[in-house]
Every structure is written in structure tokens, then in C-alpha cells.
Amino acid sequence: MEEKKEDKEPKKRVNMREQEPLVRARNFMEVPYGYNPEEAVAEASRCLSCLNPICRKGCPVAIDIPSFVKLIKEGRFIEAAWKIKEDNALPAVCGRVCPQEIQCESMCILGKKGEPVAIGNLERFVADYEREKGEVQIPGRPKLSGRKIAIIGSGPAGLSCAADLIKSGHQVTLFEALHKPGGVLIYGIPEFRLPKAIVEKEVDYISKLGVKVVLNAVIGKLFTIDELFSEQGYDACFIATGAGLPMFLGIPGENLNGIYSANEFLTRANLMKAYLFPEYDTPIKKGRNVAVFGGGNVAMDSARVALRLGAEKVHLIYRRSEAEMPARKAETHHAREEGVEFLMLTNPVRFIDDGKGNVCAVECQKMELGEPDTSGRRKPVPVKGSEFQIEIDVAIPAIGTRSNPLLTKTIPDLSLNKRGYIIADEETGMTSKKGVFAGGDIITGSATVILAMGAGRKAAKAINEYLKWKYWDTSRFVGQ
């Protein structure tokens, strides 16, 4: 049956309507409008309901894609949302930010001949529909177990772990260092890509389930992990503090005024709402000519925020070629449409001072691709004599993050790897310290929202087991 359908000319994917590029490049409202019910049904109808749905293999949490898509086809949108929520607590987020083209959609059978089913768009649609129309169900509280669990960090890993553990009847406290919960979803990913109201709703939901959210609590400073165990009576803890330490380029002039780490630039704009200055008090330099360095999602977000703050020109400078850029395809496409100028195979060598401590230009060098490096990507090598300067007044290195040692250095008996990330068992999140689990970017380095959520759920399961047996075996993974 499947084969027959495949032979036919596949129907075209239903695209999401979105704001005009030149209009949206000047506002912070969400770029795509999302599907309406008719569009969602039309797109869902393209799915072949495969008996062996290989799309699921592409999803890190193996969402039952054909089932939820079928429910959409039948107009049962709320049920479709619940179906997804069996495996993914944050569909409105993942539908928007998952790199679908290398995950679920990359496997979809329709992709072999034409365009894959727009799984992400459909996921987003039902989650939004449920939020706007449906009664969000708050399940009754299960029997209390009498156990207490501390979760450190309220990004996707911490949120999903908390959601699962509270359903098991434990007392769960979520500690967050910042004044708003959500991790990168709040301070990093901009409003136009992930409206903050959605994240707030999700956090609200888990608070309603009974999770106690404690903001402004910098663990390691306010309380140590040992104090949480010994003085506050926690039975286990899950560390999900992310990879929030910005890396810089390490070139001369990098501390001049006007040069921001992507973390700072995005935090000022998103968390502190500096784009609304002076309504909001936090200032941000609105550059006229901005250079962003890097090729990932963080670089795209920085470039697009700079445009929206009013920049005339935004250069995105990357040392490899576009094929190697790790950003989601949708983001690169959107950035280019909005007028971000891509300068590929280019590397900055120094920043130039205007004589008053501000950056006024960056000197760059052209690169060419040489032999493949250890990552399999062709290594960029500088072209001699190719130096040139670009006038800029704001520069944003977005070249990655490392693990923030603030908490880990207060836990001497926790094993870290060479790069400072916590060593933990991938399946359970168990670390070298009894009762301490970890997951998300703090063990993997910068990864994705869905992987962090997956790690949170695996840890929740393992924590439940641990509370039963208090068994701790770290021989499998510690000491590598």
C-alpha cells in the first residue's frame, strides 16, 4: 500500500505563513504565524502513516509521530497534543526550535522523493492549539513518597526532570540562579523565534503540578550540594546547569567597548529586555555596523537581534564555508532573507580602537579549506596577504560556550572531564558522587533542547530507581 502511494507525485508541503522579511527584521514578534487548522489537516494528510515509521528513529525522544499526525488528520488536535506529551513535555518549544532537518524530518520517507512531512510545524500547531483552546489538564497529585529532590538549573533538562519526578509523588524543588526560569529558552533564544509567554506557560504548568521554583538561588554560593543533602534533607539532586560560560576569540582588542559575548548580547536583549530601553533600564549598544562571528544558532540569533535593534549592516563572519555551518537551516534562511550579510571563509585577527576605547573596525583574513580535521570537516587555513578591514561599532563573538565552573568547583568529589564538563552515565545521568545526577549541556557541551529534555527524563527515571534501592555503581563510566 505504501509503495503505491509513493509512486504518485507527492503533494507539496504546506508552508507556514510568516511576516515579510523586511518588516519582521525591524520587530521582535514571532516570524512564522503557524498553521491554521485547515493547513494543519492538509499537511498531516500528506503523512503515509507508515507501518514502520522511520521518522521516529530520527527523534531523540522517539515521539509517536504517525499517531499524533493521524489525530491531526482527524481533527482531534487536543488528543494529538496529549499524544506528543507522552514523550515530550515541551512540544510548543521543540516544534519551534528542533533542528528537524537533521532529526525526525531527515528520516521521513517522503523526503526521499520530495519534501518530508513538516513534523515540527505540526507539533507546534497542536501544542499552540492546546494552549489557546484546550483546558490544560492538571493531573491530581499522586500519593506523596516523602522523598525530596533538588534540581539545579531550570533549562529544558531541569524542567523536564522536574515534571516527571513530581508525577512520581516526590517533593521537587527547582533552583535557578537567574530571576526568571527557563534557561537558554529565556535568556538565549530570542522572542521572535520562541515567544517568552510560551516558556512562562510551561513553567507555570510544572509549578501547578507542585514543583517549587526557587529563583535567585545560585547553588554553590547560596547552598552547596552537600548542604542540600545534609541540612535541607534532599535525597537526590539533578544538576542541569547548562554550558553557560562564553568563549572569546582570544585576539587583540577583544575587551574594547562594543564587543559582547553572544551570551551577554542575548541576555541583555532577551532576559533584560534591553530592546525596550528606556522603558526597561538595561542598556545595550545599538550598533550601526555589526559583526557577528560564528555559524551556529547562537550566531544567527545574535545577528537577527542586532538587525532588530536597528543596525544598518550586519555581517555574519564564519571561518568555514556555508556547508559547514551548524545552525538550523531555517535560521540561516531567515537571517539571509532579513538582510544579514554572510562572509564565509573569513576569520577575524584583531579589533581596532577608535582612540576612545571603543571598537571601530575589525581586521579579517580570508581562509581556504585544507585537509579534513579530526571532526571530518575540512580545516580552514589562512590565505597569506588577504587581510582587510570592516568598519564596525558592535562585535559579537558567538563561537561557543564552555562549562561554568561556579558550581562544580564547590563539589570536590564530582568527576569532571578535561573540558570541565561533568562525567555522567548517558543512560541514567549518574555521576561519581552518590545521589547526584546530571544531564543536558553540562555533560554534553552545547547541544539541543530536545537532547537536554531527553537527559532530564532519563535522569528522572533513574532517580526513581535510586530512591528505591539507594544503589550506586559508577564503575561503568567514571575514570574514562
Binding site: 535567585n216 547560596l222 551570551n263 561556579l406
Partner: protein
Amino acid sequence: MFKILKKEELSDLVILFEIEAQDIAKKAKAGNFFTLRINEQGERIPLTIADFDRDRGTITTVFQKMGKTTHLLGALNAGDSIMDVIGPLGMHSHIENFGKVICVGGGVGIAPTYPIARALREAGNTVISIIGARTKNLIFWEDRMRNVSDELIIVTDDGSLGRKAVVTVPLDERLTEDKDIELAYAIGPAIMMKFVCVTTQKHNVKTIVSLNSIMVDATGMCGACRVEVGGETKFACVDGPEFEGHKVDFDLLMSRQRMYVNEEKIAFERYKEKSGVK
């Protein structure tokens, strides 16, 4: 929400708050600071924990009204609350018995100098303190400082209290006389700390300064607070705020402190218009 239990106006511009913050009070040590956000639209600003009372669960801070946020803060009264208070942050001071030490506090920097001088004294040091400001009205905590110092020297730029001098004058004299001073501490405006370091370097006395760079999260996540110490970039909020003064690039610090002068002016003018402050 964090309640202000006590407000004291120490001078025209300098205000003391005692804030209810049980958990922070339990952990605070000399040299730590905290970050606050007054309301939903507010920015996050760092202030030093100038004192703490573990039994009552309070922290004390002393701040100088500079621009919008500190003026808005100064307009609050006992009984009012601050939305967010985050701490204790930063590395606390390294306290041991060095022998003889000299502590220099300039302007509002007198406040953070106090718990350090106290801790140094409790550790057995002989403590000489120098406090200074532009004028008499800006000097505060003379009594507190006297209580924790073996000797207290007061200077003002205009001579309205104590000696008419800047802090580096008595500092230079003492370092010339007392060859056994092992360590100097200096907290105040960047320009003061810079010249204290010039002076102590002459006498080869190790000097600790507390750097007040612009901060956002104050947990090492953004890099707004970066400073150069010994040619290396450091994050003042987590690596500091205290550093060895002779290695600090003060010109960079001062330049980075000026990054938002235009924006600060806009925010302050707007605030003044709305609130009727002169």
C-alpha cells in the same frame, strides 16, 4: 521579595539599607557582594555586602546615589521590598594573619572596607585604616572603622574633616615610616585604586583592590565584567572582585565603566522628570 528593614541616610548621597535575606546572611563573608533588581523593568546592579547578621538574617549594604537605579533604590523606605536579591557572589576576601596591614577606603568604598578591616583585625593583624572623601558630608562609619582599626586616618579633599589631602598622601607617609606593612587593601573609585597601587608599588607592598566593573548576571555567564589582570582576561564577578592591584589594567577598567554614559544619562534624565528629583 526582599524586605528593607532599616534605612539610614549616612550623607547627602550615601544610604544604608538593612535587608532581610536569611540564606544570604548565613553564607556571606567579607568581600562578597550581591546583585539586585528593584522591579520588573529594572536592571541588575551589584552592591557589596558591607555587613551581615546571621542571627537576624539580614545583610547590610551602603550605596551611593549615582544614576537611575541607585536613586530609585534610595527612594525606597524601610518596609518596602526589593524584587530580586541574589548572593552571596564573588570570591570572599582572603583573610589571614599577615602582621601589619593598611586598609584604604574612598567614598562609598568605606563601606566594603569595613568588614575586611574587621576580619583582618579578628585574624590578629595590626590594622591601620585610611578613609577619605571629597568632603565631610561624604564620610561615614568613622566610629565603626575606628573600632576595628588600631589607627584611623581621615582625609578630605577640602579639609572639612580630618586632614586636607587625598588618601595617597598619608598612605605614602605610612609606607615610608612602617617598613613592616605586609599588605594593603584599597576599595574606592577606580582612579583612587589606581593611584593607591602606584604608591604601594613604589614601596613594594602587595595590594588587593576590589574591581567594580559593569555586571549583568554576576555568575560568570556573560563576560560583561571582564577586566585584564596580568595581561589575562578575568571575569570580575566570579574570579574577583578582588585582584592583585599591581597587575590590574585600570585604564581599561575605567574605559569599560564608561561604556553606557549616554544611555545612563537618558535613563537618569527620564527618571528625574518623572519623579521630580533635582
